[in-house]
Each structure stands twice: as C-alpha cells, then as structure tokens.
C-alpha cells in the first residue's frame, strides 16, 4: 500500500470506502427521497414527496382496531393544510390511515373506492376484508417500486377479518407488509411504538379503554416532539358490534391537551 511513501488508493474507478455508491444513470442517488426517472425523451419525472402526511398510529385491541393520525398535510416544512382527514373508512370491515405523499394517498384511495364500488355492484353481501386489501396493496406497491416508479406512501390498514378477528397491518412504499398489534408510520415509529410496546400486557390484548388512552398519550408525545405534527387528530375505530356486524367509523377531530405552563420554568428563552 505504501509505495515510495505515498498512500495508494485501495482501488480505482469505484466508490471510495464508506461512501454510498452512486449507480450510473441516476443523479443524486444517495438520497432515497430524490429519485429521478429518466426516459428516452430526455425528460425527467421527480418522484419526490411534495405534500406529506406525517405519522399514523394503529393499535389492535380485543374487539377491534384503532387508527389515529393528525389532520395536517405539510408542504415541506410549511403546515399547509391543517384540517385534512387522513383516516378513511373503506367499508364496514376496513379502516385505513395514510401517511407519506398525500397525492399518492388520494390516488390509491380512488383505486380502492373503485374496488368497493365493484363489490357493491356484485350485490352478494361479500365485502372485502382487511387482510385481502393489505395483500392487494402490497402487490401493487411492490410492483410500482420494482418499476422504479413508487407511490410514496406508508399506510396502516386495519379492521375486522373473518371469524371476527381484528387485523392490523402496515404497508410501505416498497411493498413491505407487516402485521402486529401495534404498527405506525413516520415519526410514530420512533416515538410511539416503544411507548405502546412497553404498556402491552404479556398475556392478553389491550381493552378499548387502554388502547384509547395510549392513542391519546402517543398523539400528545408526537405533537410535542415531531415538528410536522399538529395538535388536532382523528381516530378511526373498527370494532365488532355483534356476530354479523361491525361498528366502523372515523371519529374526531380531537385536540391534544397541550400543556405549555412548564415553558415559564425554562431558562434561556
């Protein structure tokens, strides 16, 4: 390695050690958020996120699921649209919370609405189940990602599956699906997930009261700590009412109980 006292590089024409490799043909490839797709006519399409929704949090309890998200859609660091419902009732069995690029969320909601209308046109009392929708979304999102044209979304899908079992899953822009008793997107993954996991009783599911209290606490933490969260949020509830029907609604908007009185005690401001 040392020739004539001069340090020789380990290799030529390659990435320097420790650097993310820039594959040829892609400008600014190191940052996943900026992905430019080139086609033959030399025009580039940017698939960067523009108007974004922040965190979504889903918690499964013994009778169903709760999915909560704030009502803010940001334009970069600007809090642009402050009263947007990011939780959607899909049908009597499914609710969905959308995070990530909001235009892509609206686009996928249109496809999902078309599916639900198709179901209604069959008029055979067969309504889609959350697991089926989550699987379908995984396939669609994975396909889009494989064609290097992703939908920049991170969604939480929950509801009541067959045999009145609650179901909760998270599907992201790469088509990665994950099902658990608590799932979240965005900053909630770092702030809310550990909080909920700590409170989970080892031998049983949450009750509705416990889950609601956890939602309230997590929304408060997220408002204080995530700069792209606002204090107003909506909660989707999907729970078993009796053996044949569910209660499936989006409730809200609720307000985080903001406590700023401690600010007086902070020195230096």
């Amino acid at each position: 390695m040392f020739n004539n006292g001069i340090v020789q590089p380990l290799w030529y024409n390659g990435p320097s050690p420790g650097q993310f490799y820039n594959f040829p043909g892609y400008a600014n490839n190191g940052n996943m958020k900026q992905c430019h797709e080139t086609n033959n006519s030399d025009s580039t399409r940017s698939t960067a996120m523009i108007t974004t929704g922040s965190s979504v949090l889903g918690i499964k309890f013994d009778q169903g699921v709760l999915i909560a998200a704030d009502t803010l859609v940001s334009y970069g660091s600007l809090s642009r649209f402050q009263n947007i419902d990011r939780i959607f009732k899909i049908n009597d069995n499914i609710i969905m919370g959308g995070g990530g690029d909001f235009a892509d969320i609206q686009s996928i909601m249109r496809s999902i609405d078309q599916k639900m209308i198709e179901d209604q046109c069959y008029a055979d009392n067969i309504a889609m189940r959350p697991k089926a929708l989550a699987t379908w979304m995984t396939r669609v999102l994975y396909n889009r990602r494989s064609r290097m044209n992703p939908l920049f979304i991170d969604v939480v899908i929950g509801g009541i599956d067959e045999n009145n079992e609650p179901y909760l899953a998270n599907v992201d822009l790469r088509g990665r699906a994950f099902s658990d008793y608590v799932v979240s997107t965005g900053f909630a993954r770092h702030l809310a997930l550990p909080l909920v996991r700590e409170k989970k009783p080892a031998d049983r599911d949450f009750t509705l009261e416990e889950a609601s209290e956890l939602i309230r606490q997590c929304m408060e933490v997220l408002y204080y700590r995530d700069t792209k969260n606002s204090s107003q949020y909506t909660v989707g509830v999907c729970k078993v009412k009796d053996s044949t029907s569910n209660q499936c609604d989006v409730e809200g908007p609720f307000q985080v109980d903001e406590k700023w009185s401690f600010a007086k005690m902070v020195k230096g401001y």
């Binding site: 069959y122 055979d124 009392n125 067969i126 189940r129 697991k131 089926a132 699987t135 379908w136 396939r139 067959e162």
Partner: protein, 285 residues
C-alpha cells in the same frame, strides 16, 4: 329438435327467439356419463360415473380439482372441460396471490359465466360443449353450481347432469329435505345411491351382486375439508356403507332379474338400446 335453416351459426336467431347452436351444445352434455352433486350443511359432494370407453383403456377424468376450496365434475367434451378447468385454476391462483384469500365461489361462477357467454355471441367461436357441477366451500358455506354451455350458472341444493341423469334427479328430489342434517358419511352415501340409478340397465343387472365394483369417482369439500378426490379404498368403504344403508333396494332389483329368461353364455343376447357414439373424445359411454 331437427335441422332448420336457422341453426348454421351461433350468431343467427331463429324466428322463435332461440339460438339453436347453443341448444345443440346443451345436447353434448347429455351424451356424457352421469354425475351428481349435492350438499349438506357443511359439505359439498360430487359423484361421477367413470366408465372406461373400452376394456383396454382407463376411464376419462370426470372430476377436476381447481383449488383447495373448489372442484368440478364434468359431462361432455373432455377437451373443453380441460380448457375451462385450466382457466378456473388460473383465476383462483391469481386471486390467491393478490388477496391471500380463496375466490368466493359465487363470484367465480359469474366470472366463468361471462367468459362462456362470449363464445355464444361471436361468429368465430363456438359454445363450450361441457356442462359442469361445481362443488365449493367458502365462508358463505358449501355451494353446488350447475354450469351449462349456454353460460348459465345455477346455484343448486343438489343436481345431476349427463345421460340417464333423470333417475338420479328423482332420487335427489325425493331425499332433498334430509340433506341439510346429513353427516359427512351420510351425504356421501346419498350421492352414491343417487348415481346408481344412472347405470346402463345391463350394468345394473351385472353389478347388483357387488356394488363395490361400481366405477365411480367421488370427491368432497367442506368445513375443515379441502377439496379431495377419494382414493380407491375410501371409494370401496363408502360403496359398502351405501350398500348397507340401502339393502332393501337391492332385493327389489334381483326380483326383476328373476323374471327375465335365463341367459346362456357370458354376454346377454339383447344388448338393448345404447347411447350414440361420437367421434369427439368424451367421457363416454
């Protein structure tokens, strides 16, 4: 139904408002051997007569499994049945891949009906010459569907199609009220009993001594029961069970035979009326 000037093409209506080609296609179903489908509260069963076309060959496949929750039994042109079963399998698999769930049976029948209808409305296609009984189980319970070349599909409590299926239908109608409460064994026995009436008469005479040699194919699907075609041993077991359950019927049959003049030699002298033979491979005779 006889030849007329409106039956040369499937796209020609007759003045009476009929599509003769489609009706002729339905006749193809009546040429196949009989098959029976029936269901209880938890199970759907298919029974088919699998007679080999000659002593030298094995019998044609009558029952096709489509998916874990669905299977079909056919009567008519076997080649057409193969194409349709390939389509149904492909649809079920795509659905499973996209939705991680089994294709609801009623929706699959609508889908199949739409595919088959296209062939009754184009001058360059012909209707599929196969009728099928579909046995399926989904979270709405067990289903039996009858699908005909006219692209109609009917949901049935029990049904039989193919040649000499009228006696099977009579049996099913007579016992219809009891099917819902039947256990798995009982419903299988009912299916076997129903199809016995569809044997050609000389077969019935020969076989009444040992029902266990009846050439049938049996399949079942239902609650905690993926679609399964029964093995030879299971066939024999249920044939014997059906035998015991219907002991009195066998005695009646042997009374009839006593009235016939004694036959010399191995073969009966009068073969009796037989089914028309066709050039196209079907699940005959």
């Amino acid at each position: 139904m006889f030849r007329n000037q409106y039956d040369s093409d499937v796209t020609i209506w007759s003045p009476q408002g009929r599509l003769h080609q489609v009706e002729y296609a339905m006749e193809a179903v009546k040429l196949g051997t009989a098959t029976v489908g029936l269901k209880s509260a938890d199970y759907a069963v298919l029974v088919a007569l699998c007679k080999p076309p000659s002593e030298l060959s094995t019998s044609q496949r009558k029952i096709f499994s489509i998916d874990d929750h669905l299977g079909i039994s056919i009567a008519g042109i076997t080649a057409d049945a193969r194409v349709l079963s390939r389509y149904l399998r492909s649809e079920c698999l795509s659905y499973k891949h996209a939705y991680a769930a089994s294709y609801p049976v009623s929706r699959l029948m609508t889908n199949l009906g739409n595919k088959m209808q296209a062939t009754t409305q184009r001058y360059d296609r012909r209707p599929y010459g196969v009728g099928m009984l579909v046995a399926g189980y989904d979270d709405k319970g067990p289903h039996i569907y009858q699908v005909m070349p006219s692209a109609n599909s009917f949901s049935c409590k029990a049904m039989s199609i193919g040649s000499r299926s009228q006696s099977a239908r009579t049996y099913l109608e007579r016992h219809l009220a009891s099917f819902k409460q039947c256990s798995k064994d009982e419903i299988l026995c009912h299916g076997i009993q129903a199809i016995r009436g569809s044997l050609p008469s000389e077969e019935a005479a020969k076989k009444e001594e040992s029902l266990a040699q009846l050439n049938i194919c049996v399949a079942i699907v239902g609650k905690n029961q993926p679609f399964k075609i029964l093995t030879e041993e299971e066939n024999t077991k249920y044939l014997n069970m059906a035998d015991e359950l219907a002991g009195s019927v066998i005695h009646l049959k042997s009374d009839d035979d006593d009235d016939q003049p004694p036959q010399g030699g191995d073969e009966p002298a009068e073969p009796g009326p037989s089914d028309p033979l066709v050039d196209v491979p079907m699940d005959l005779p």
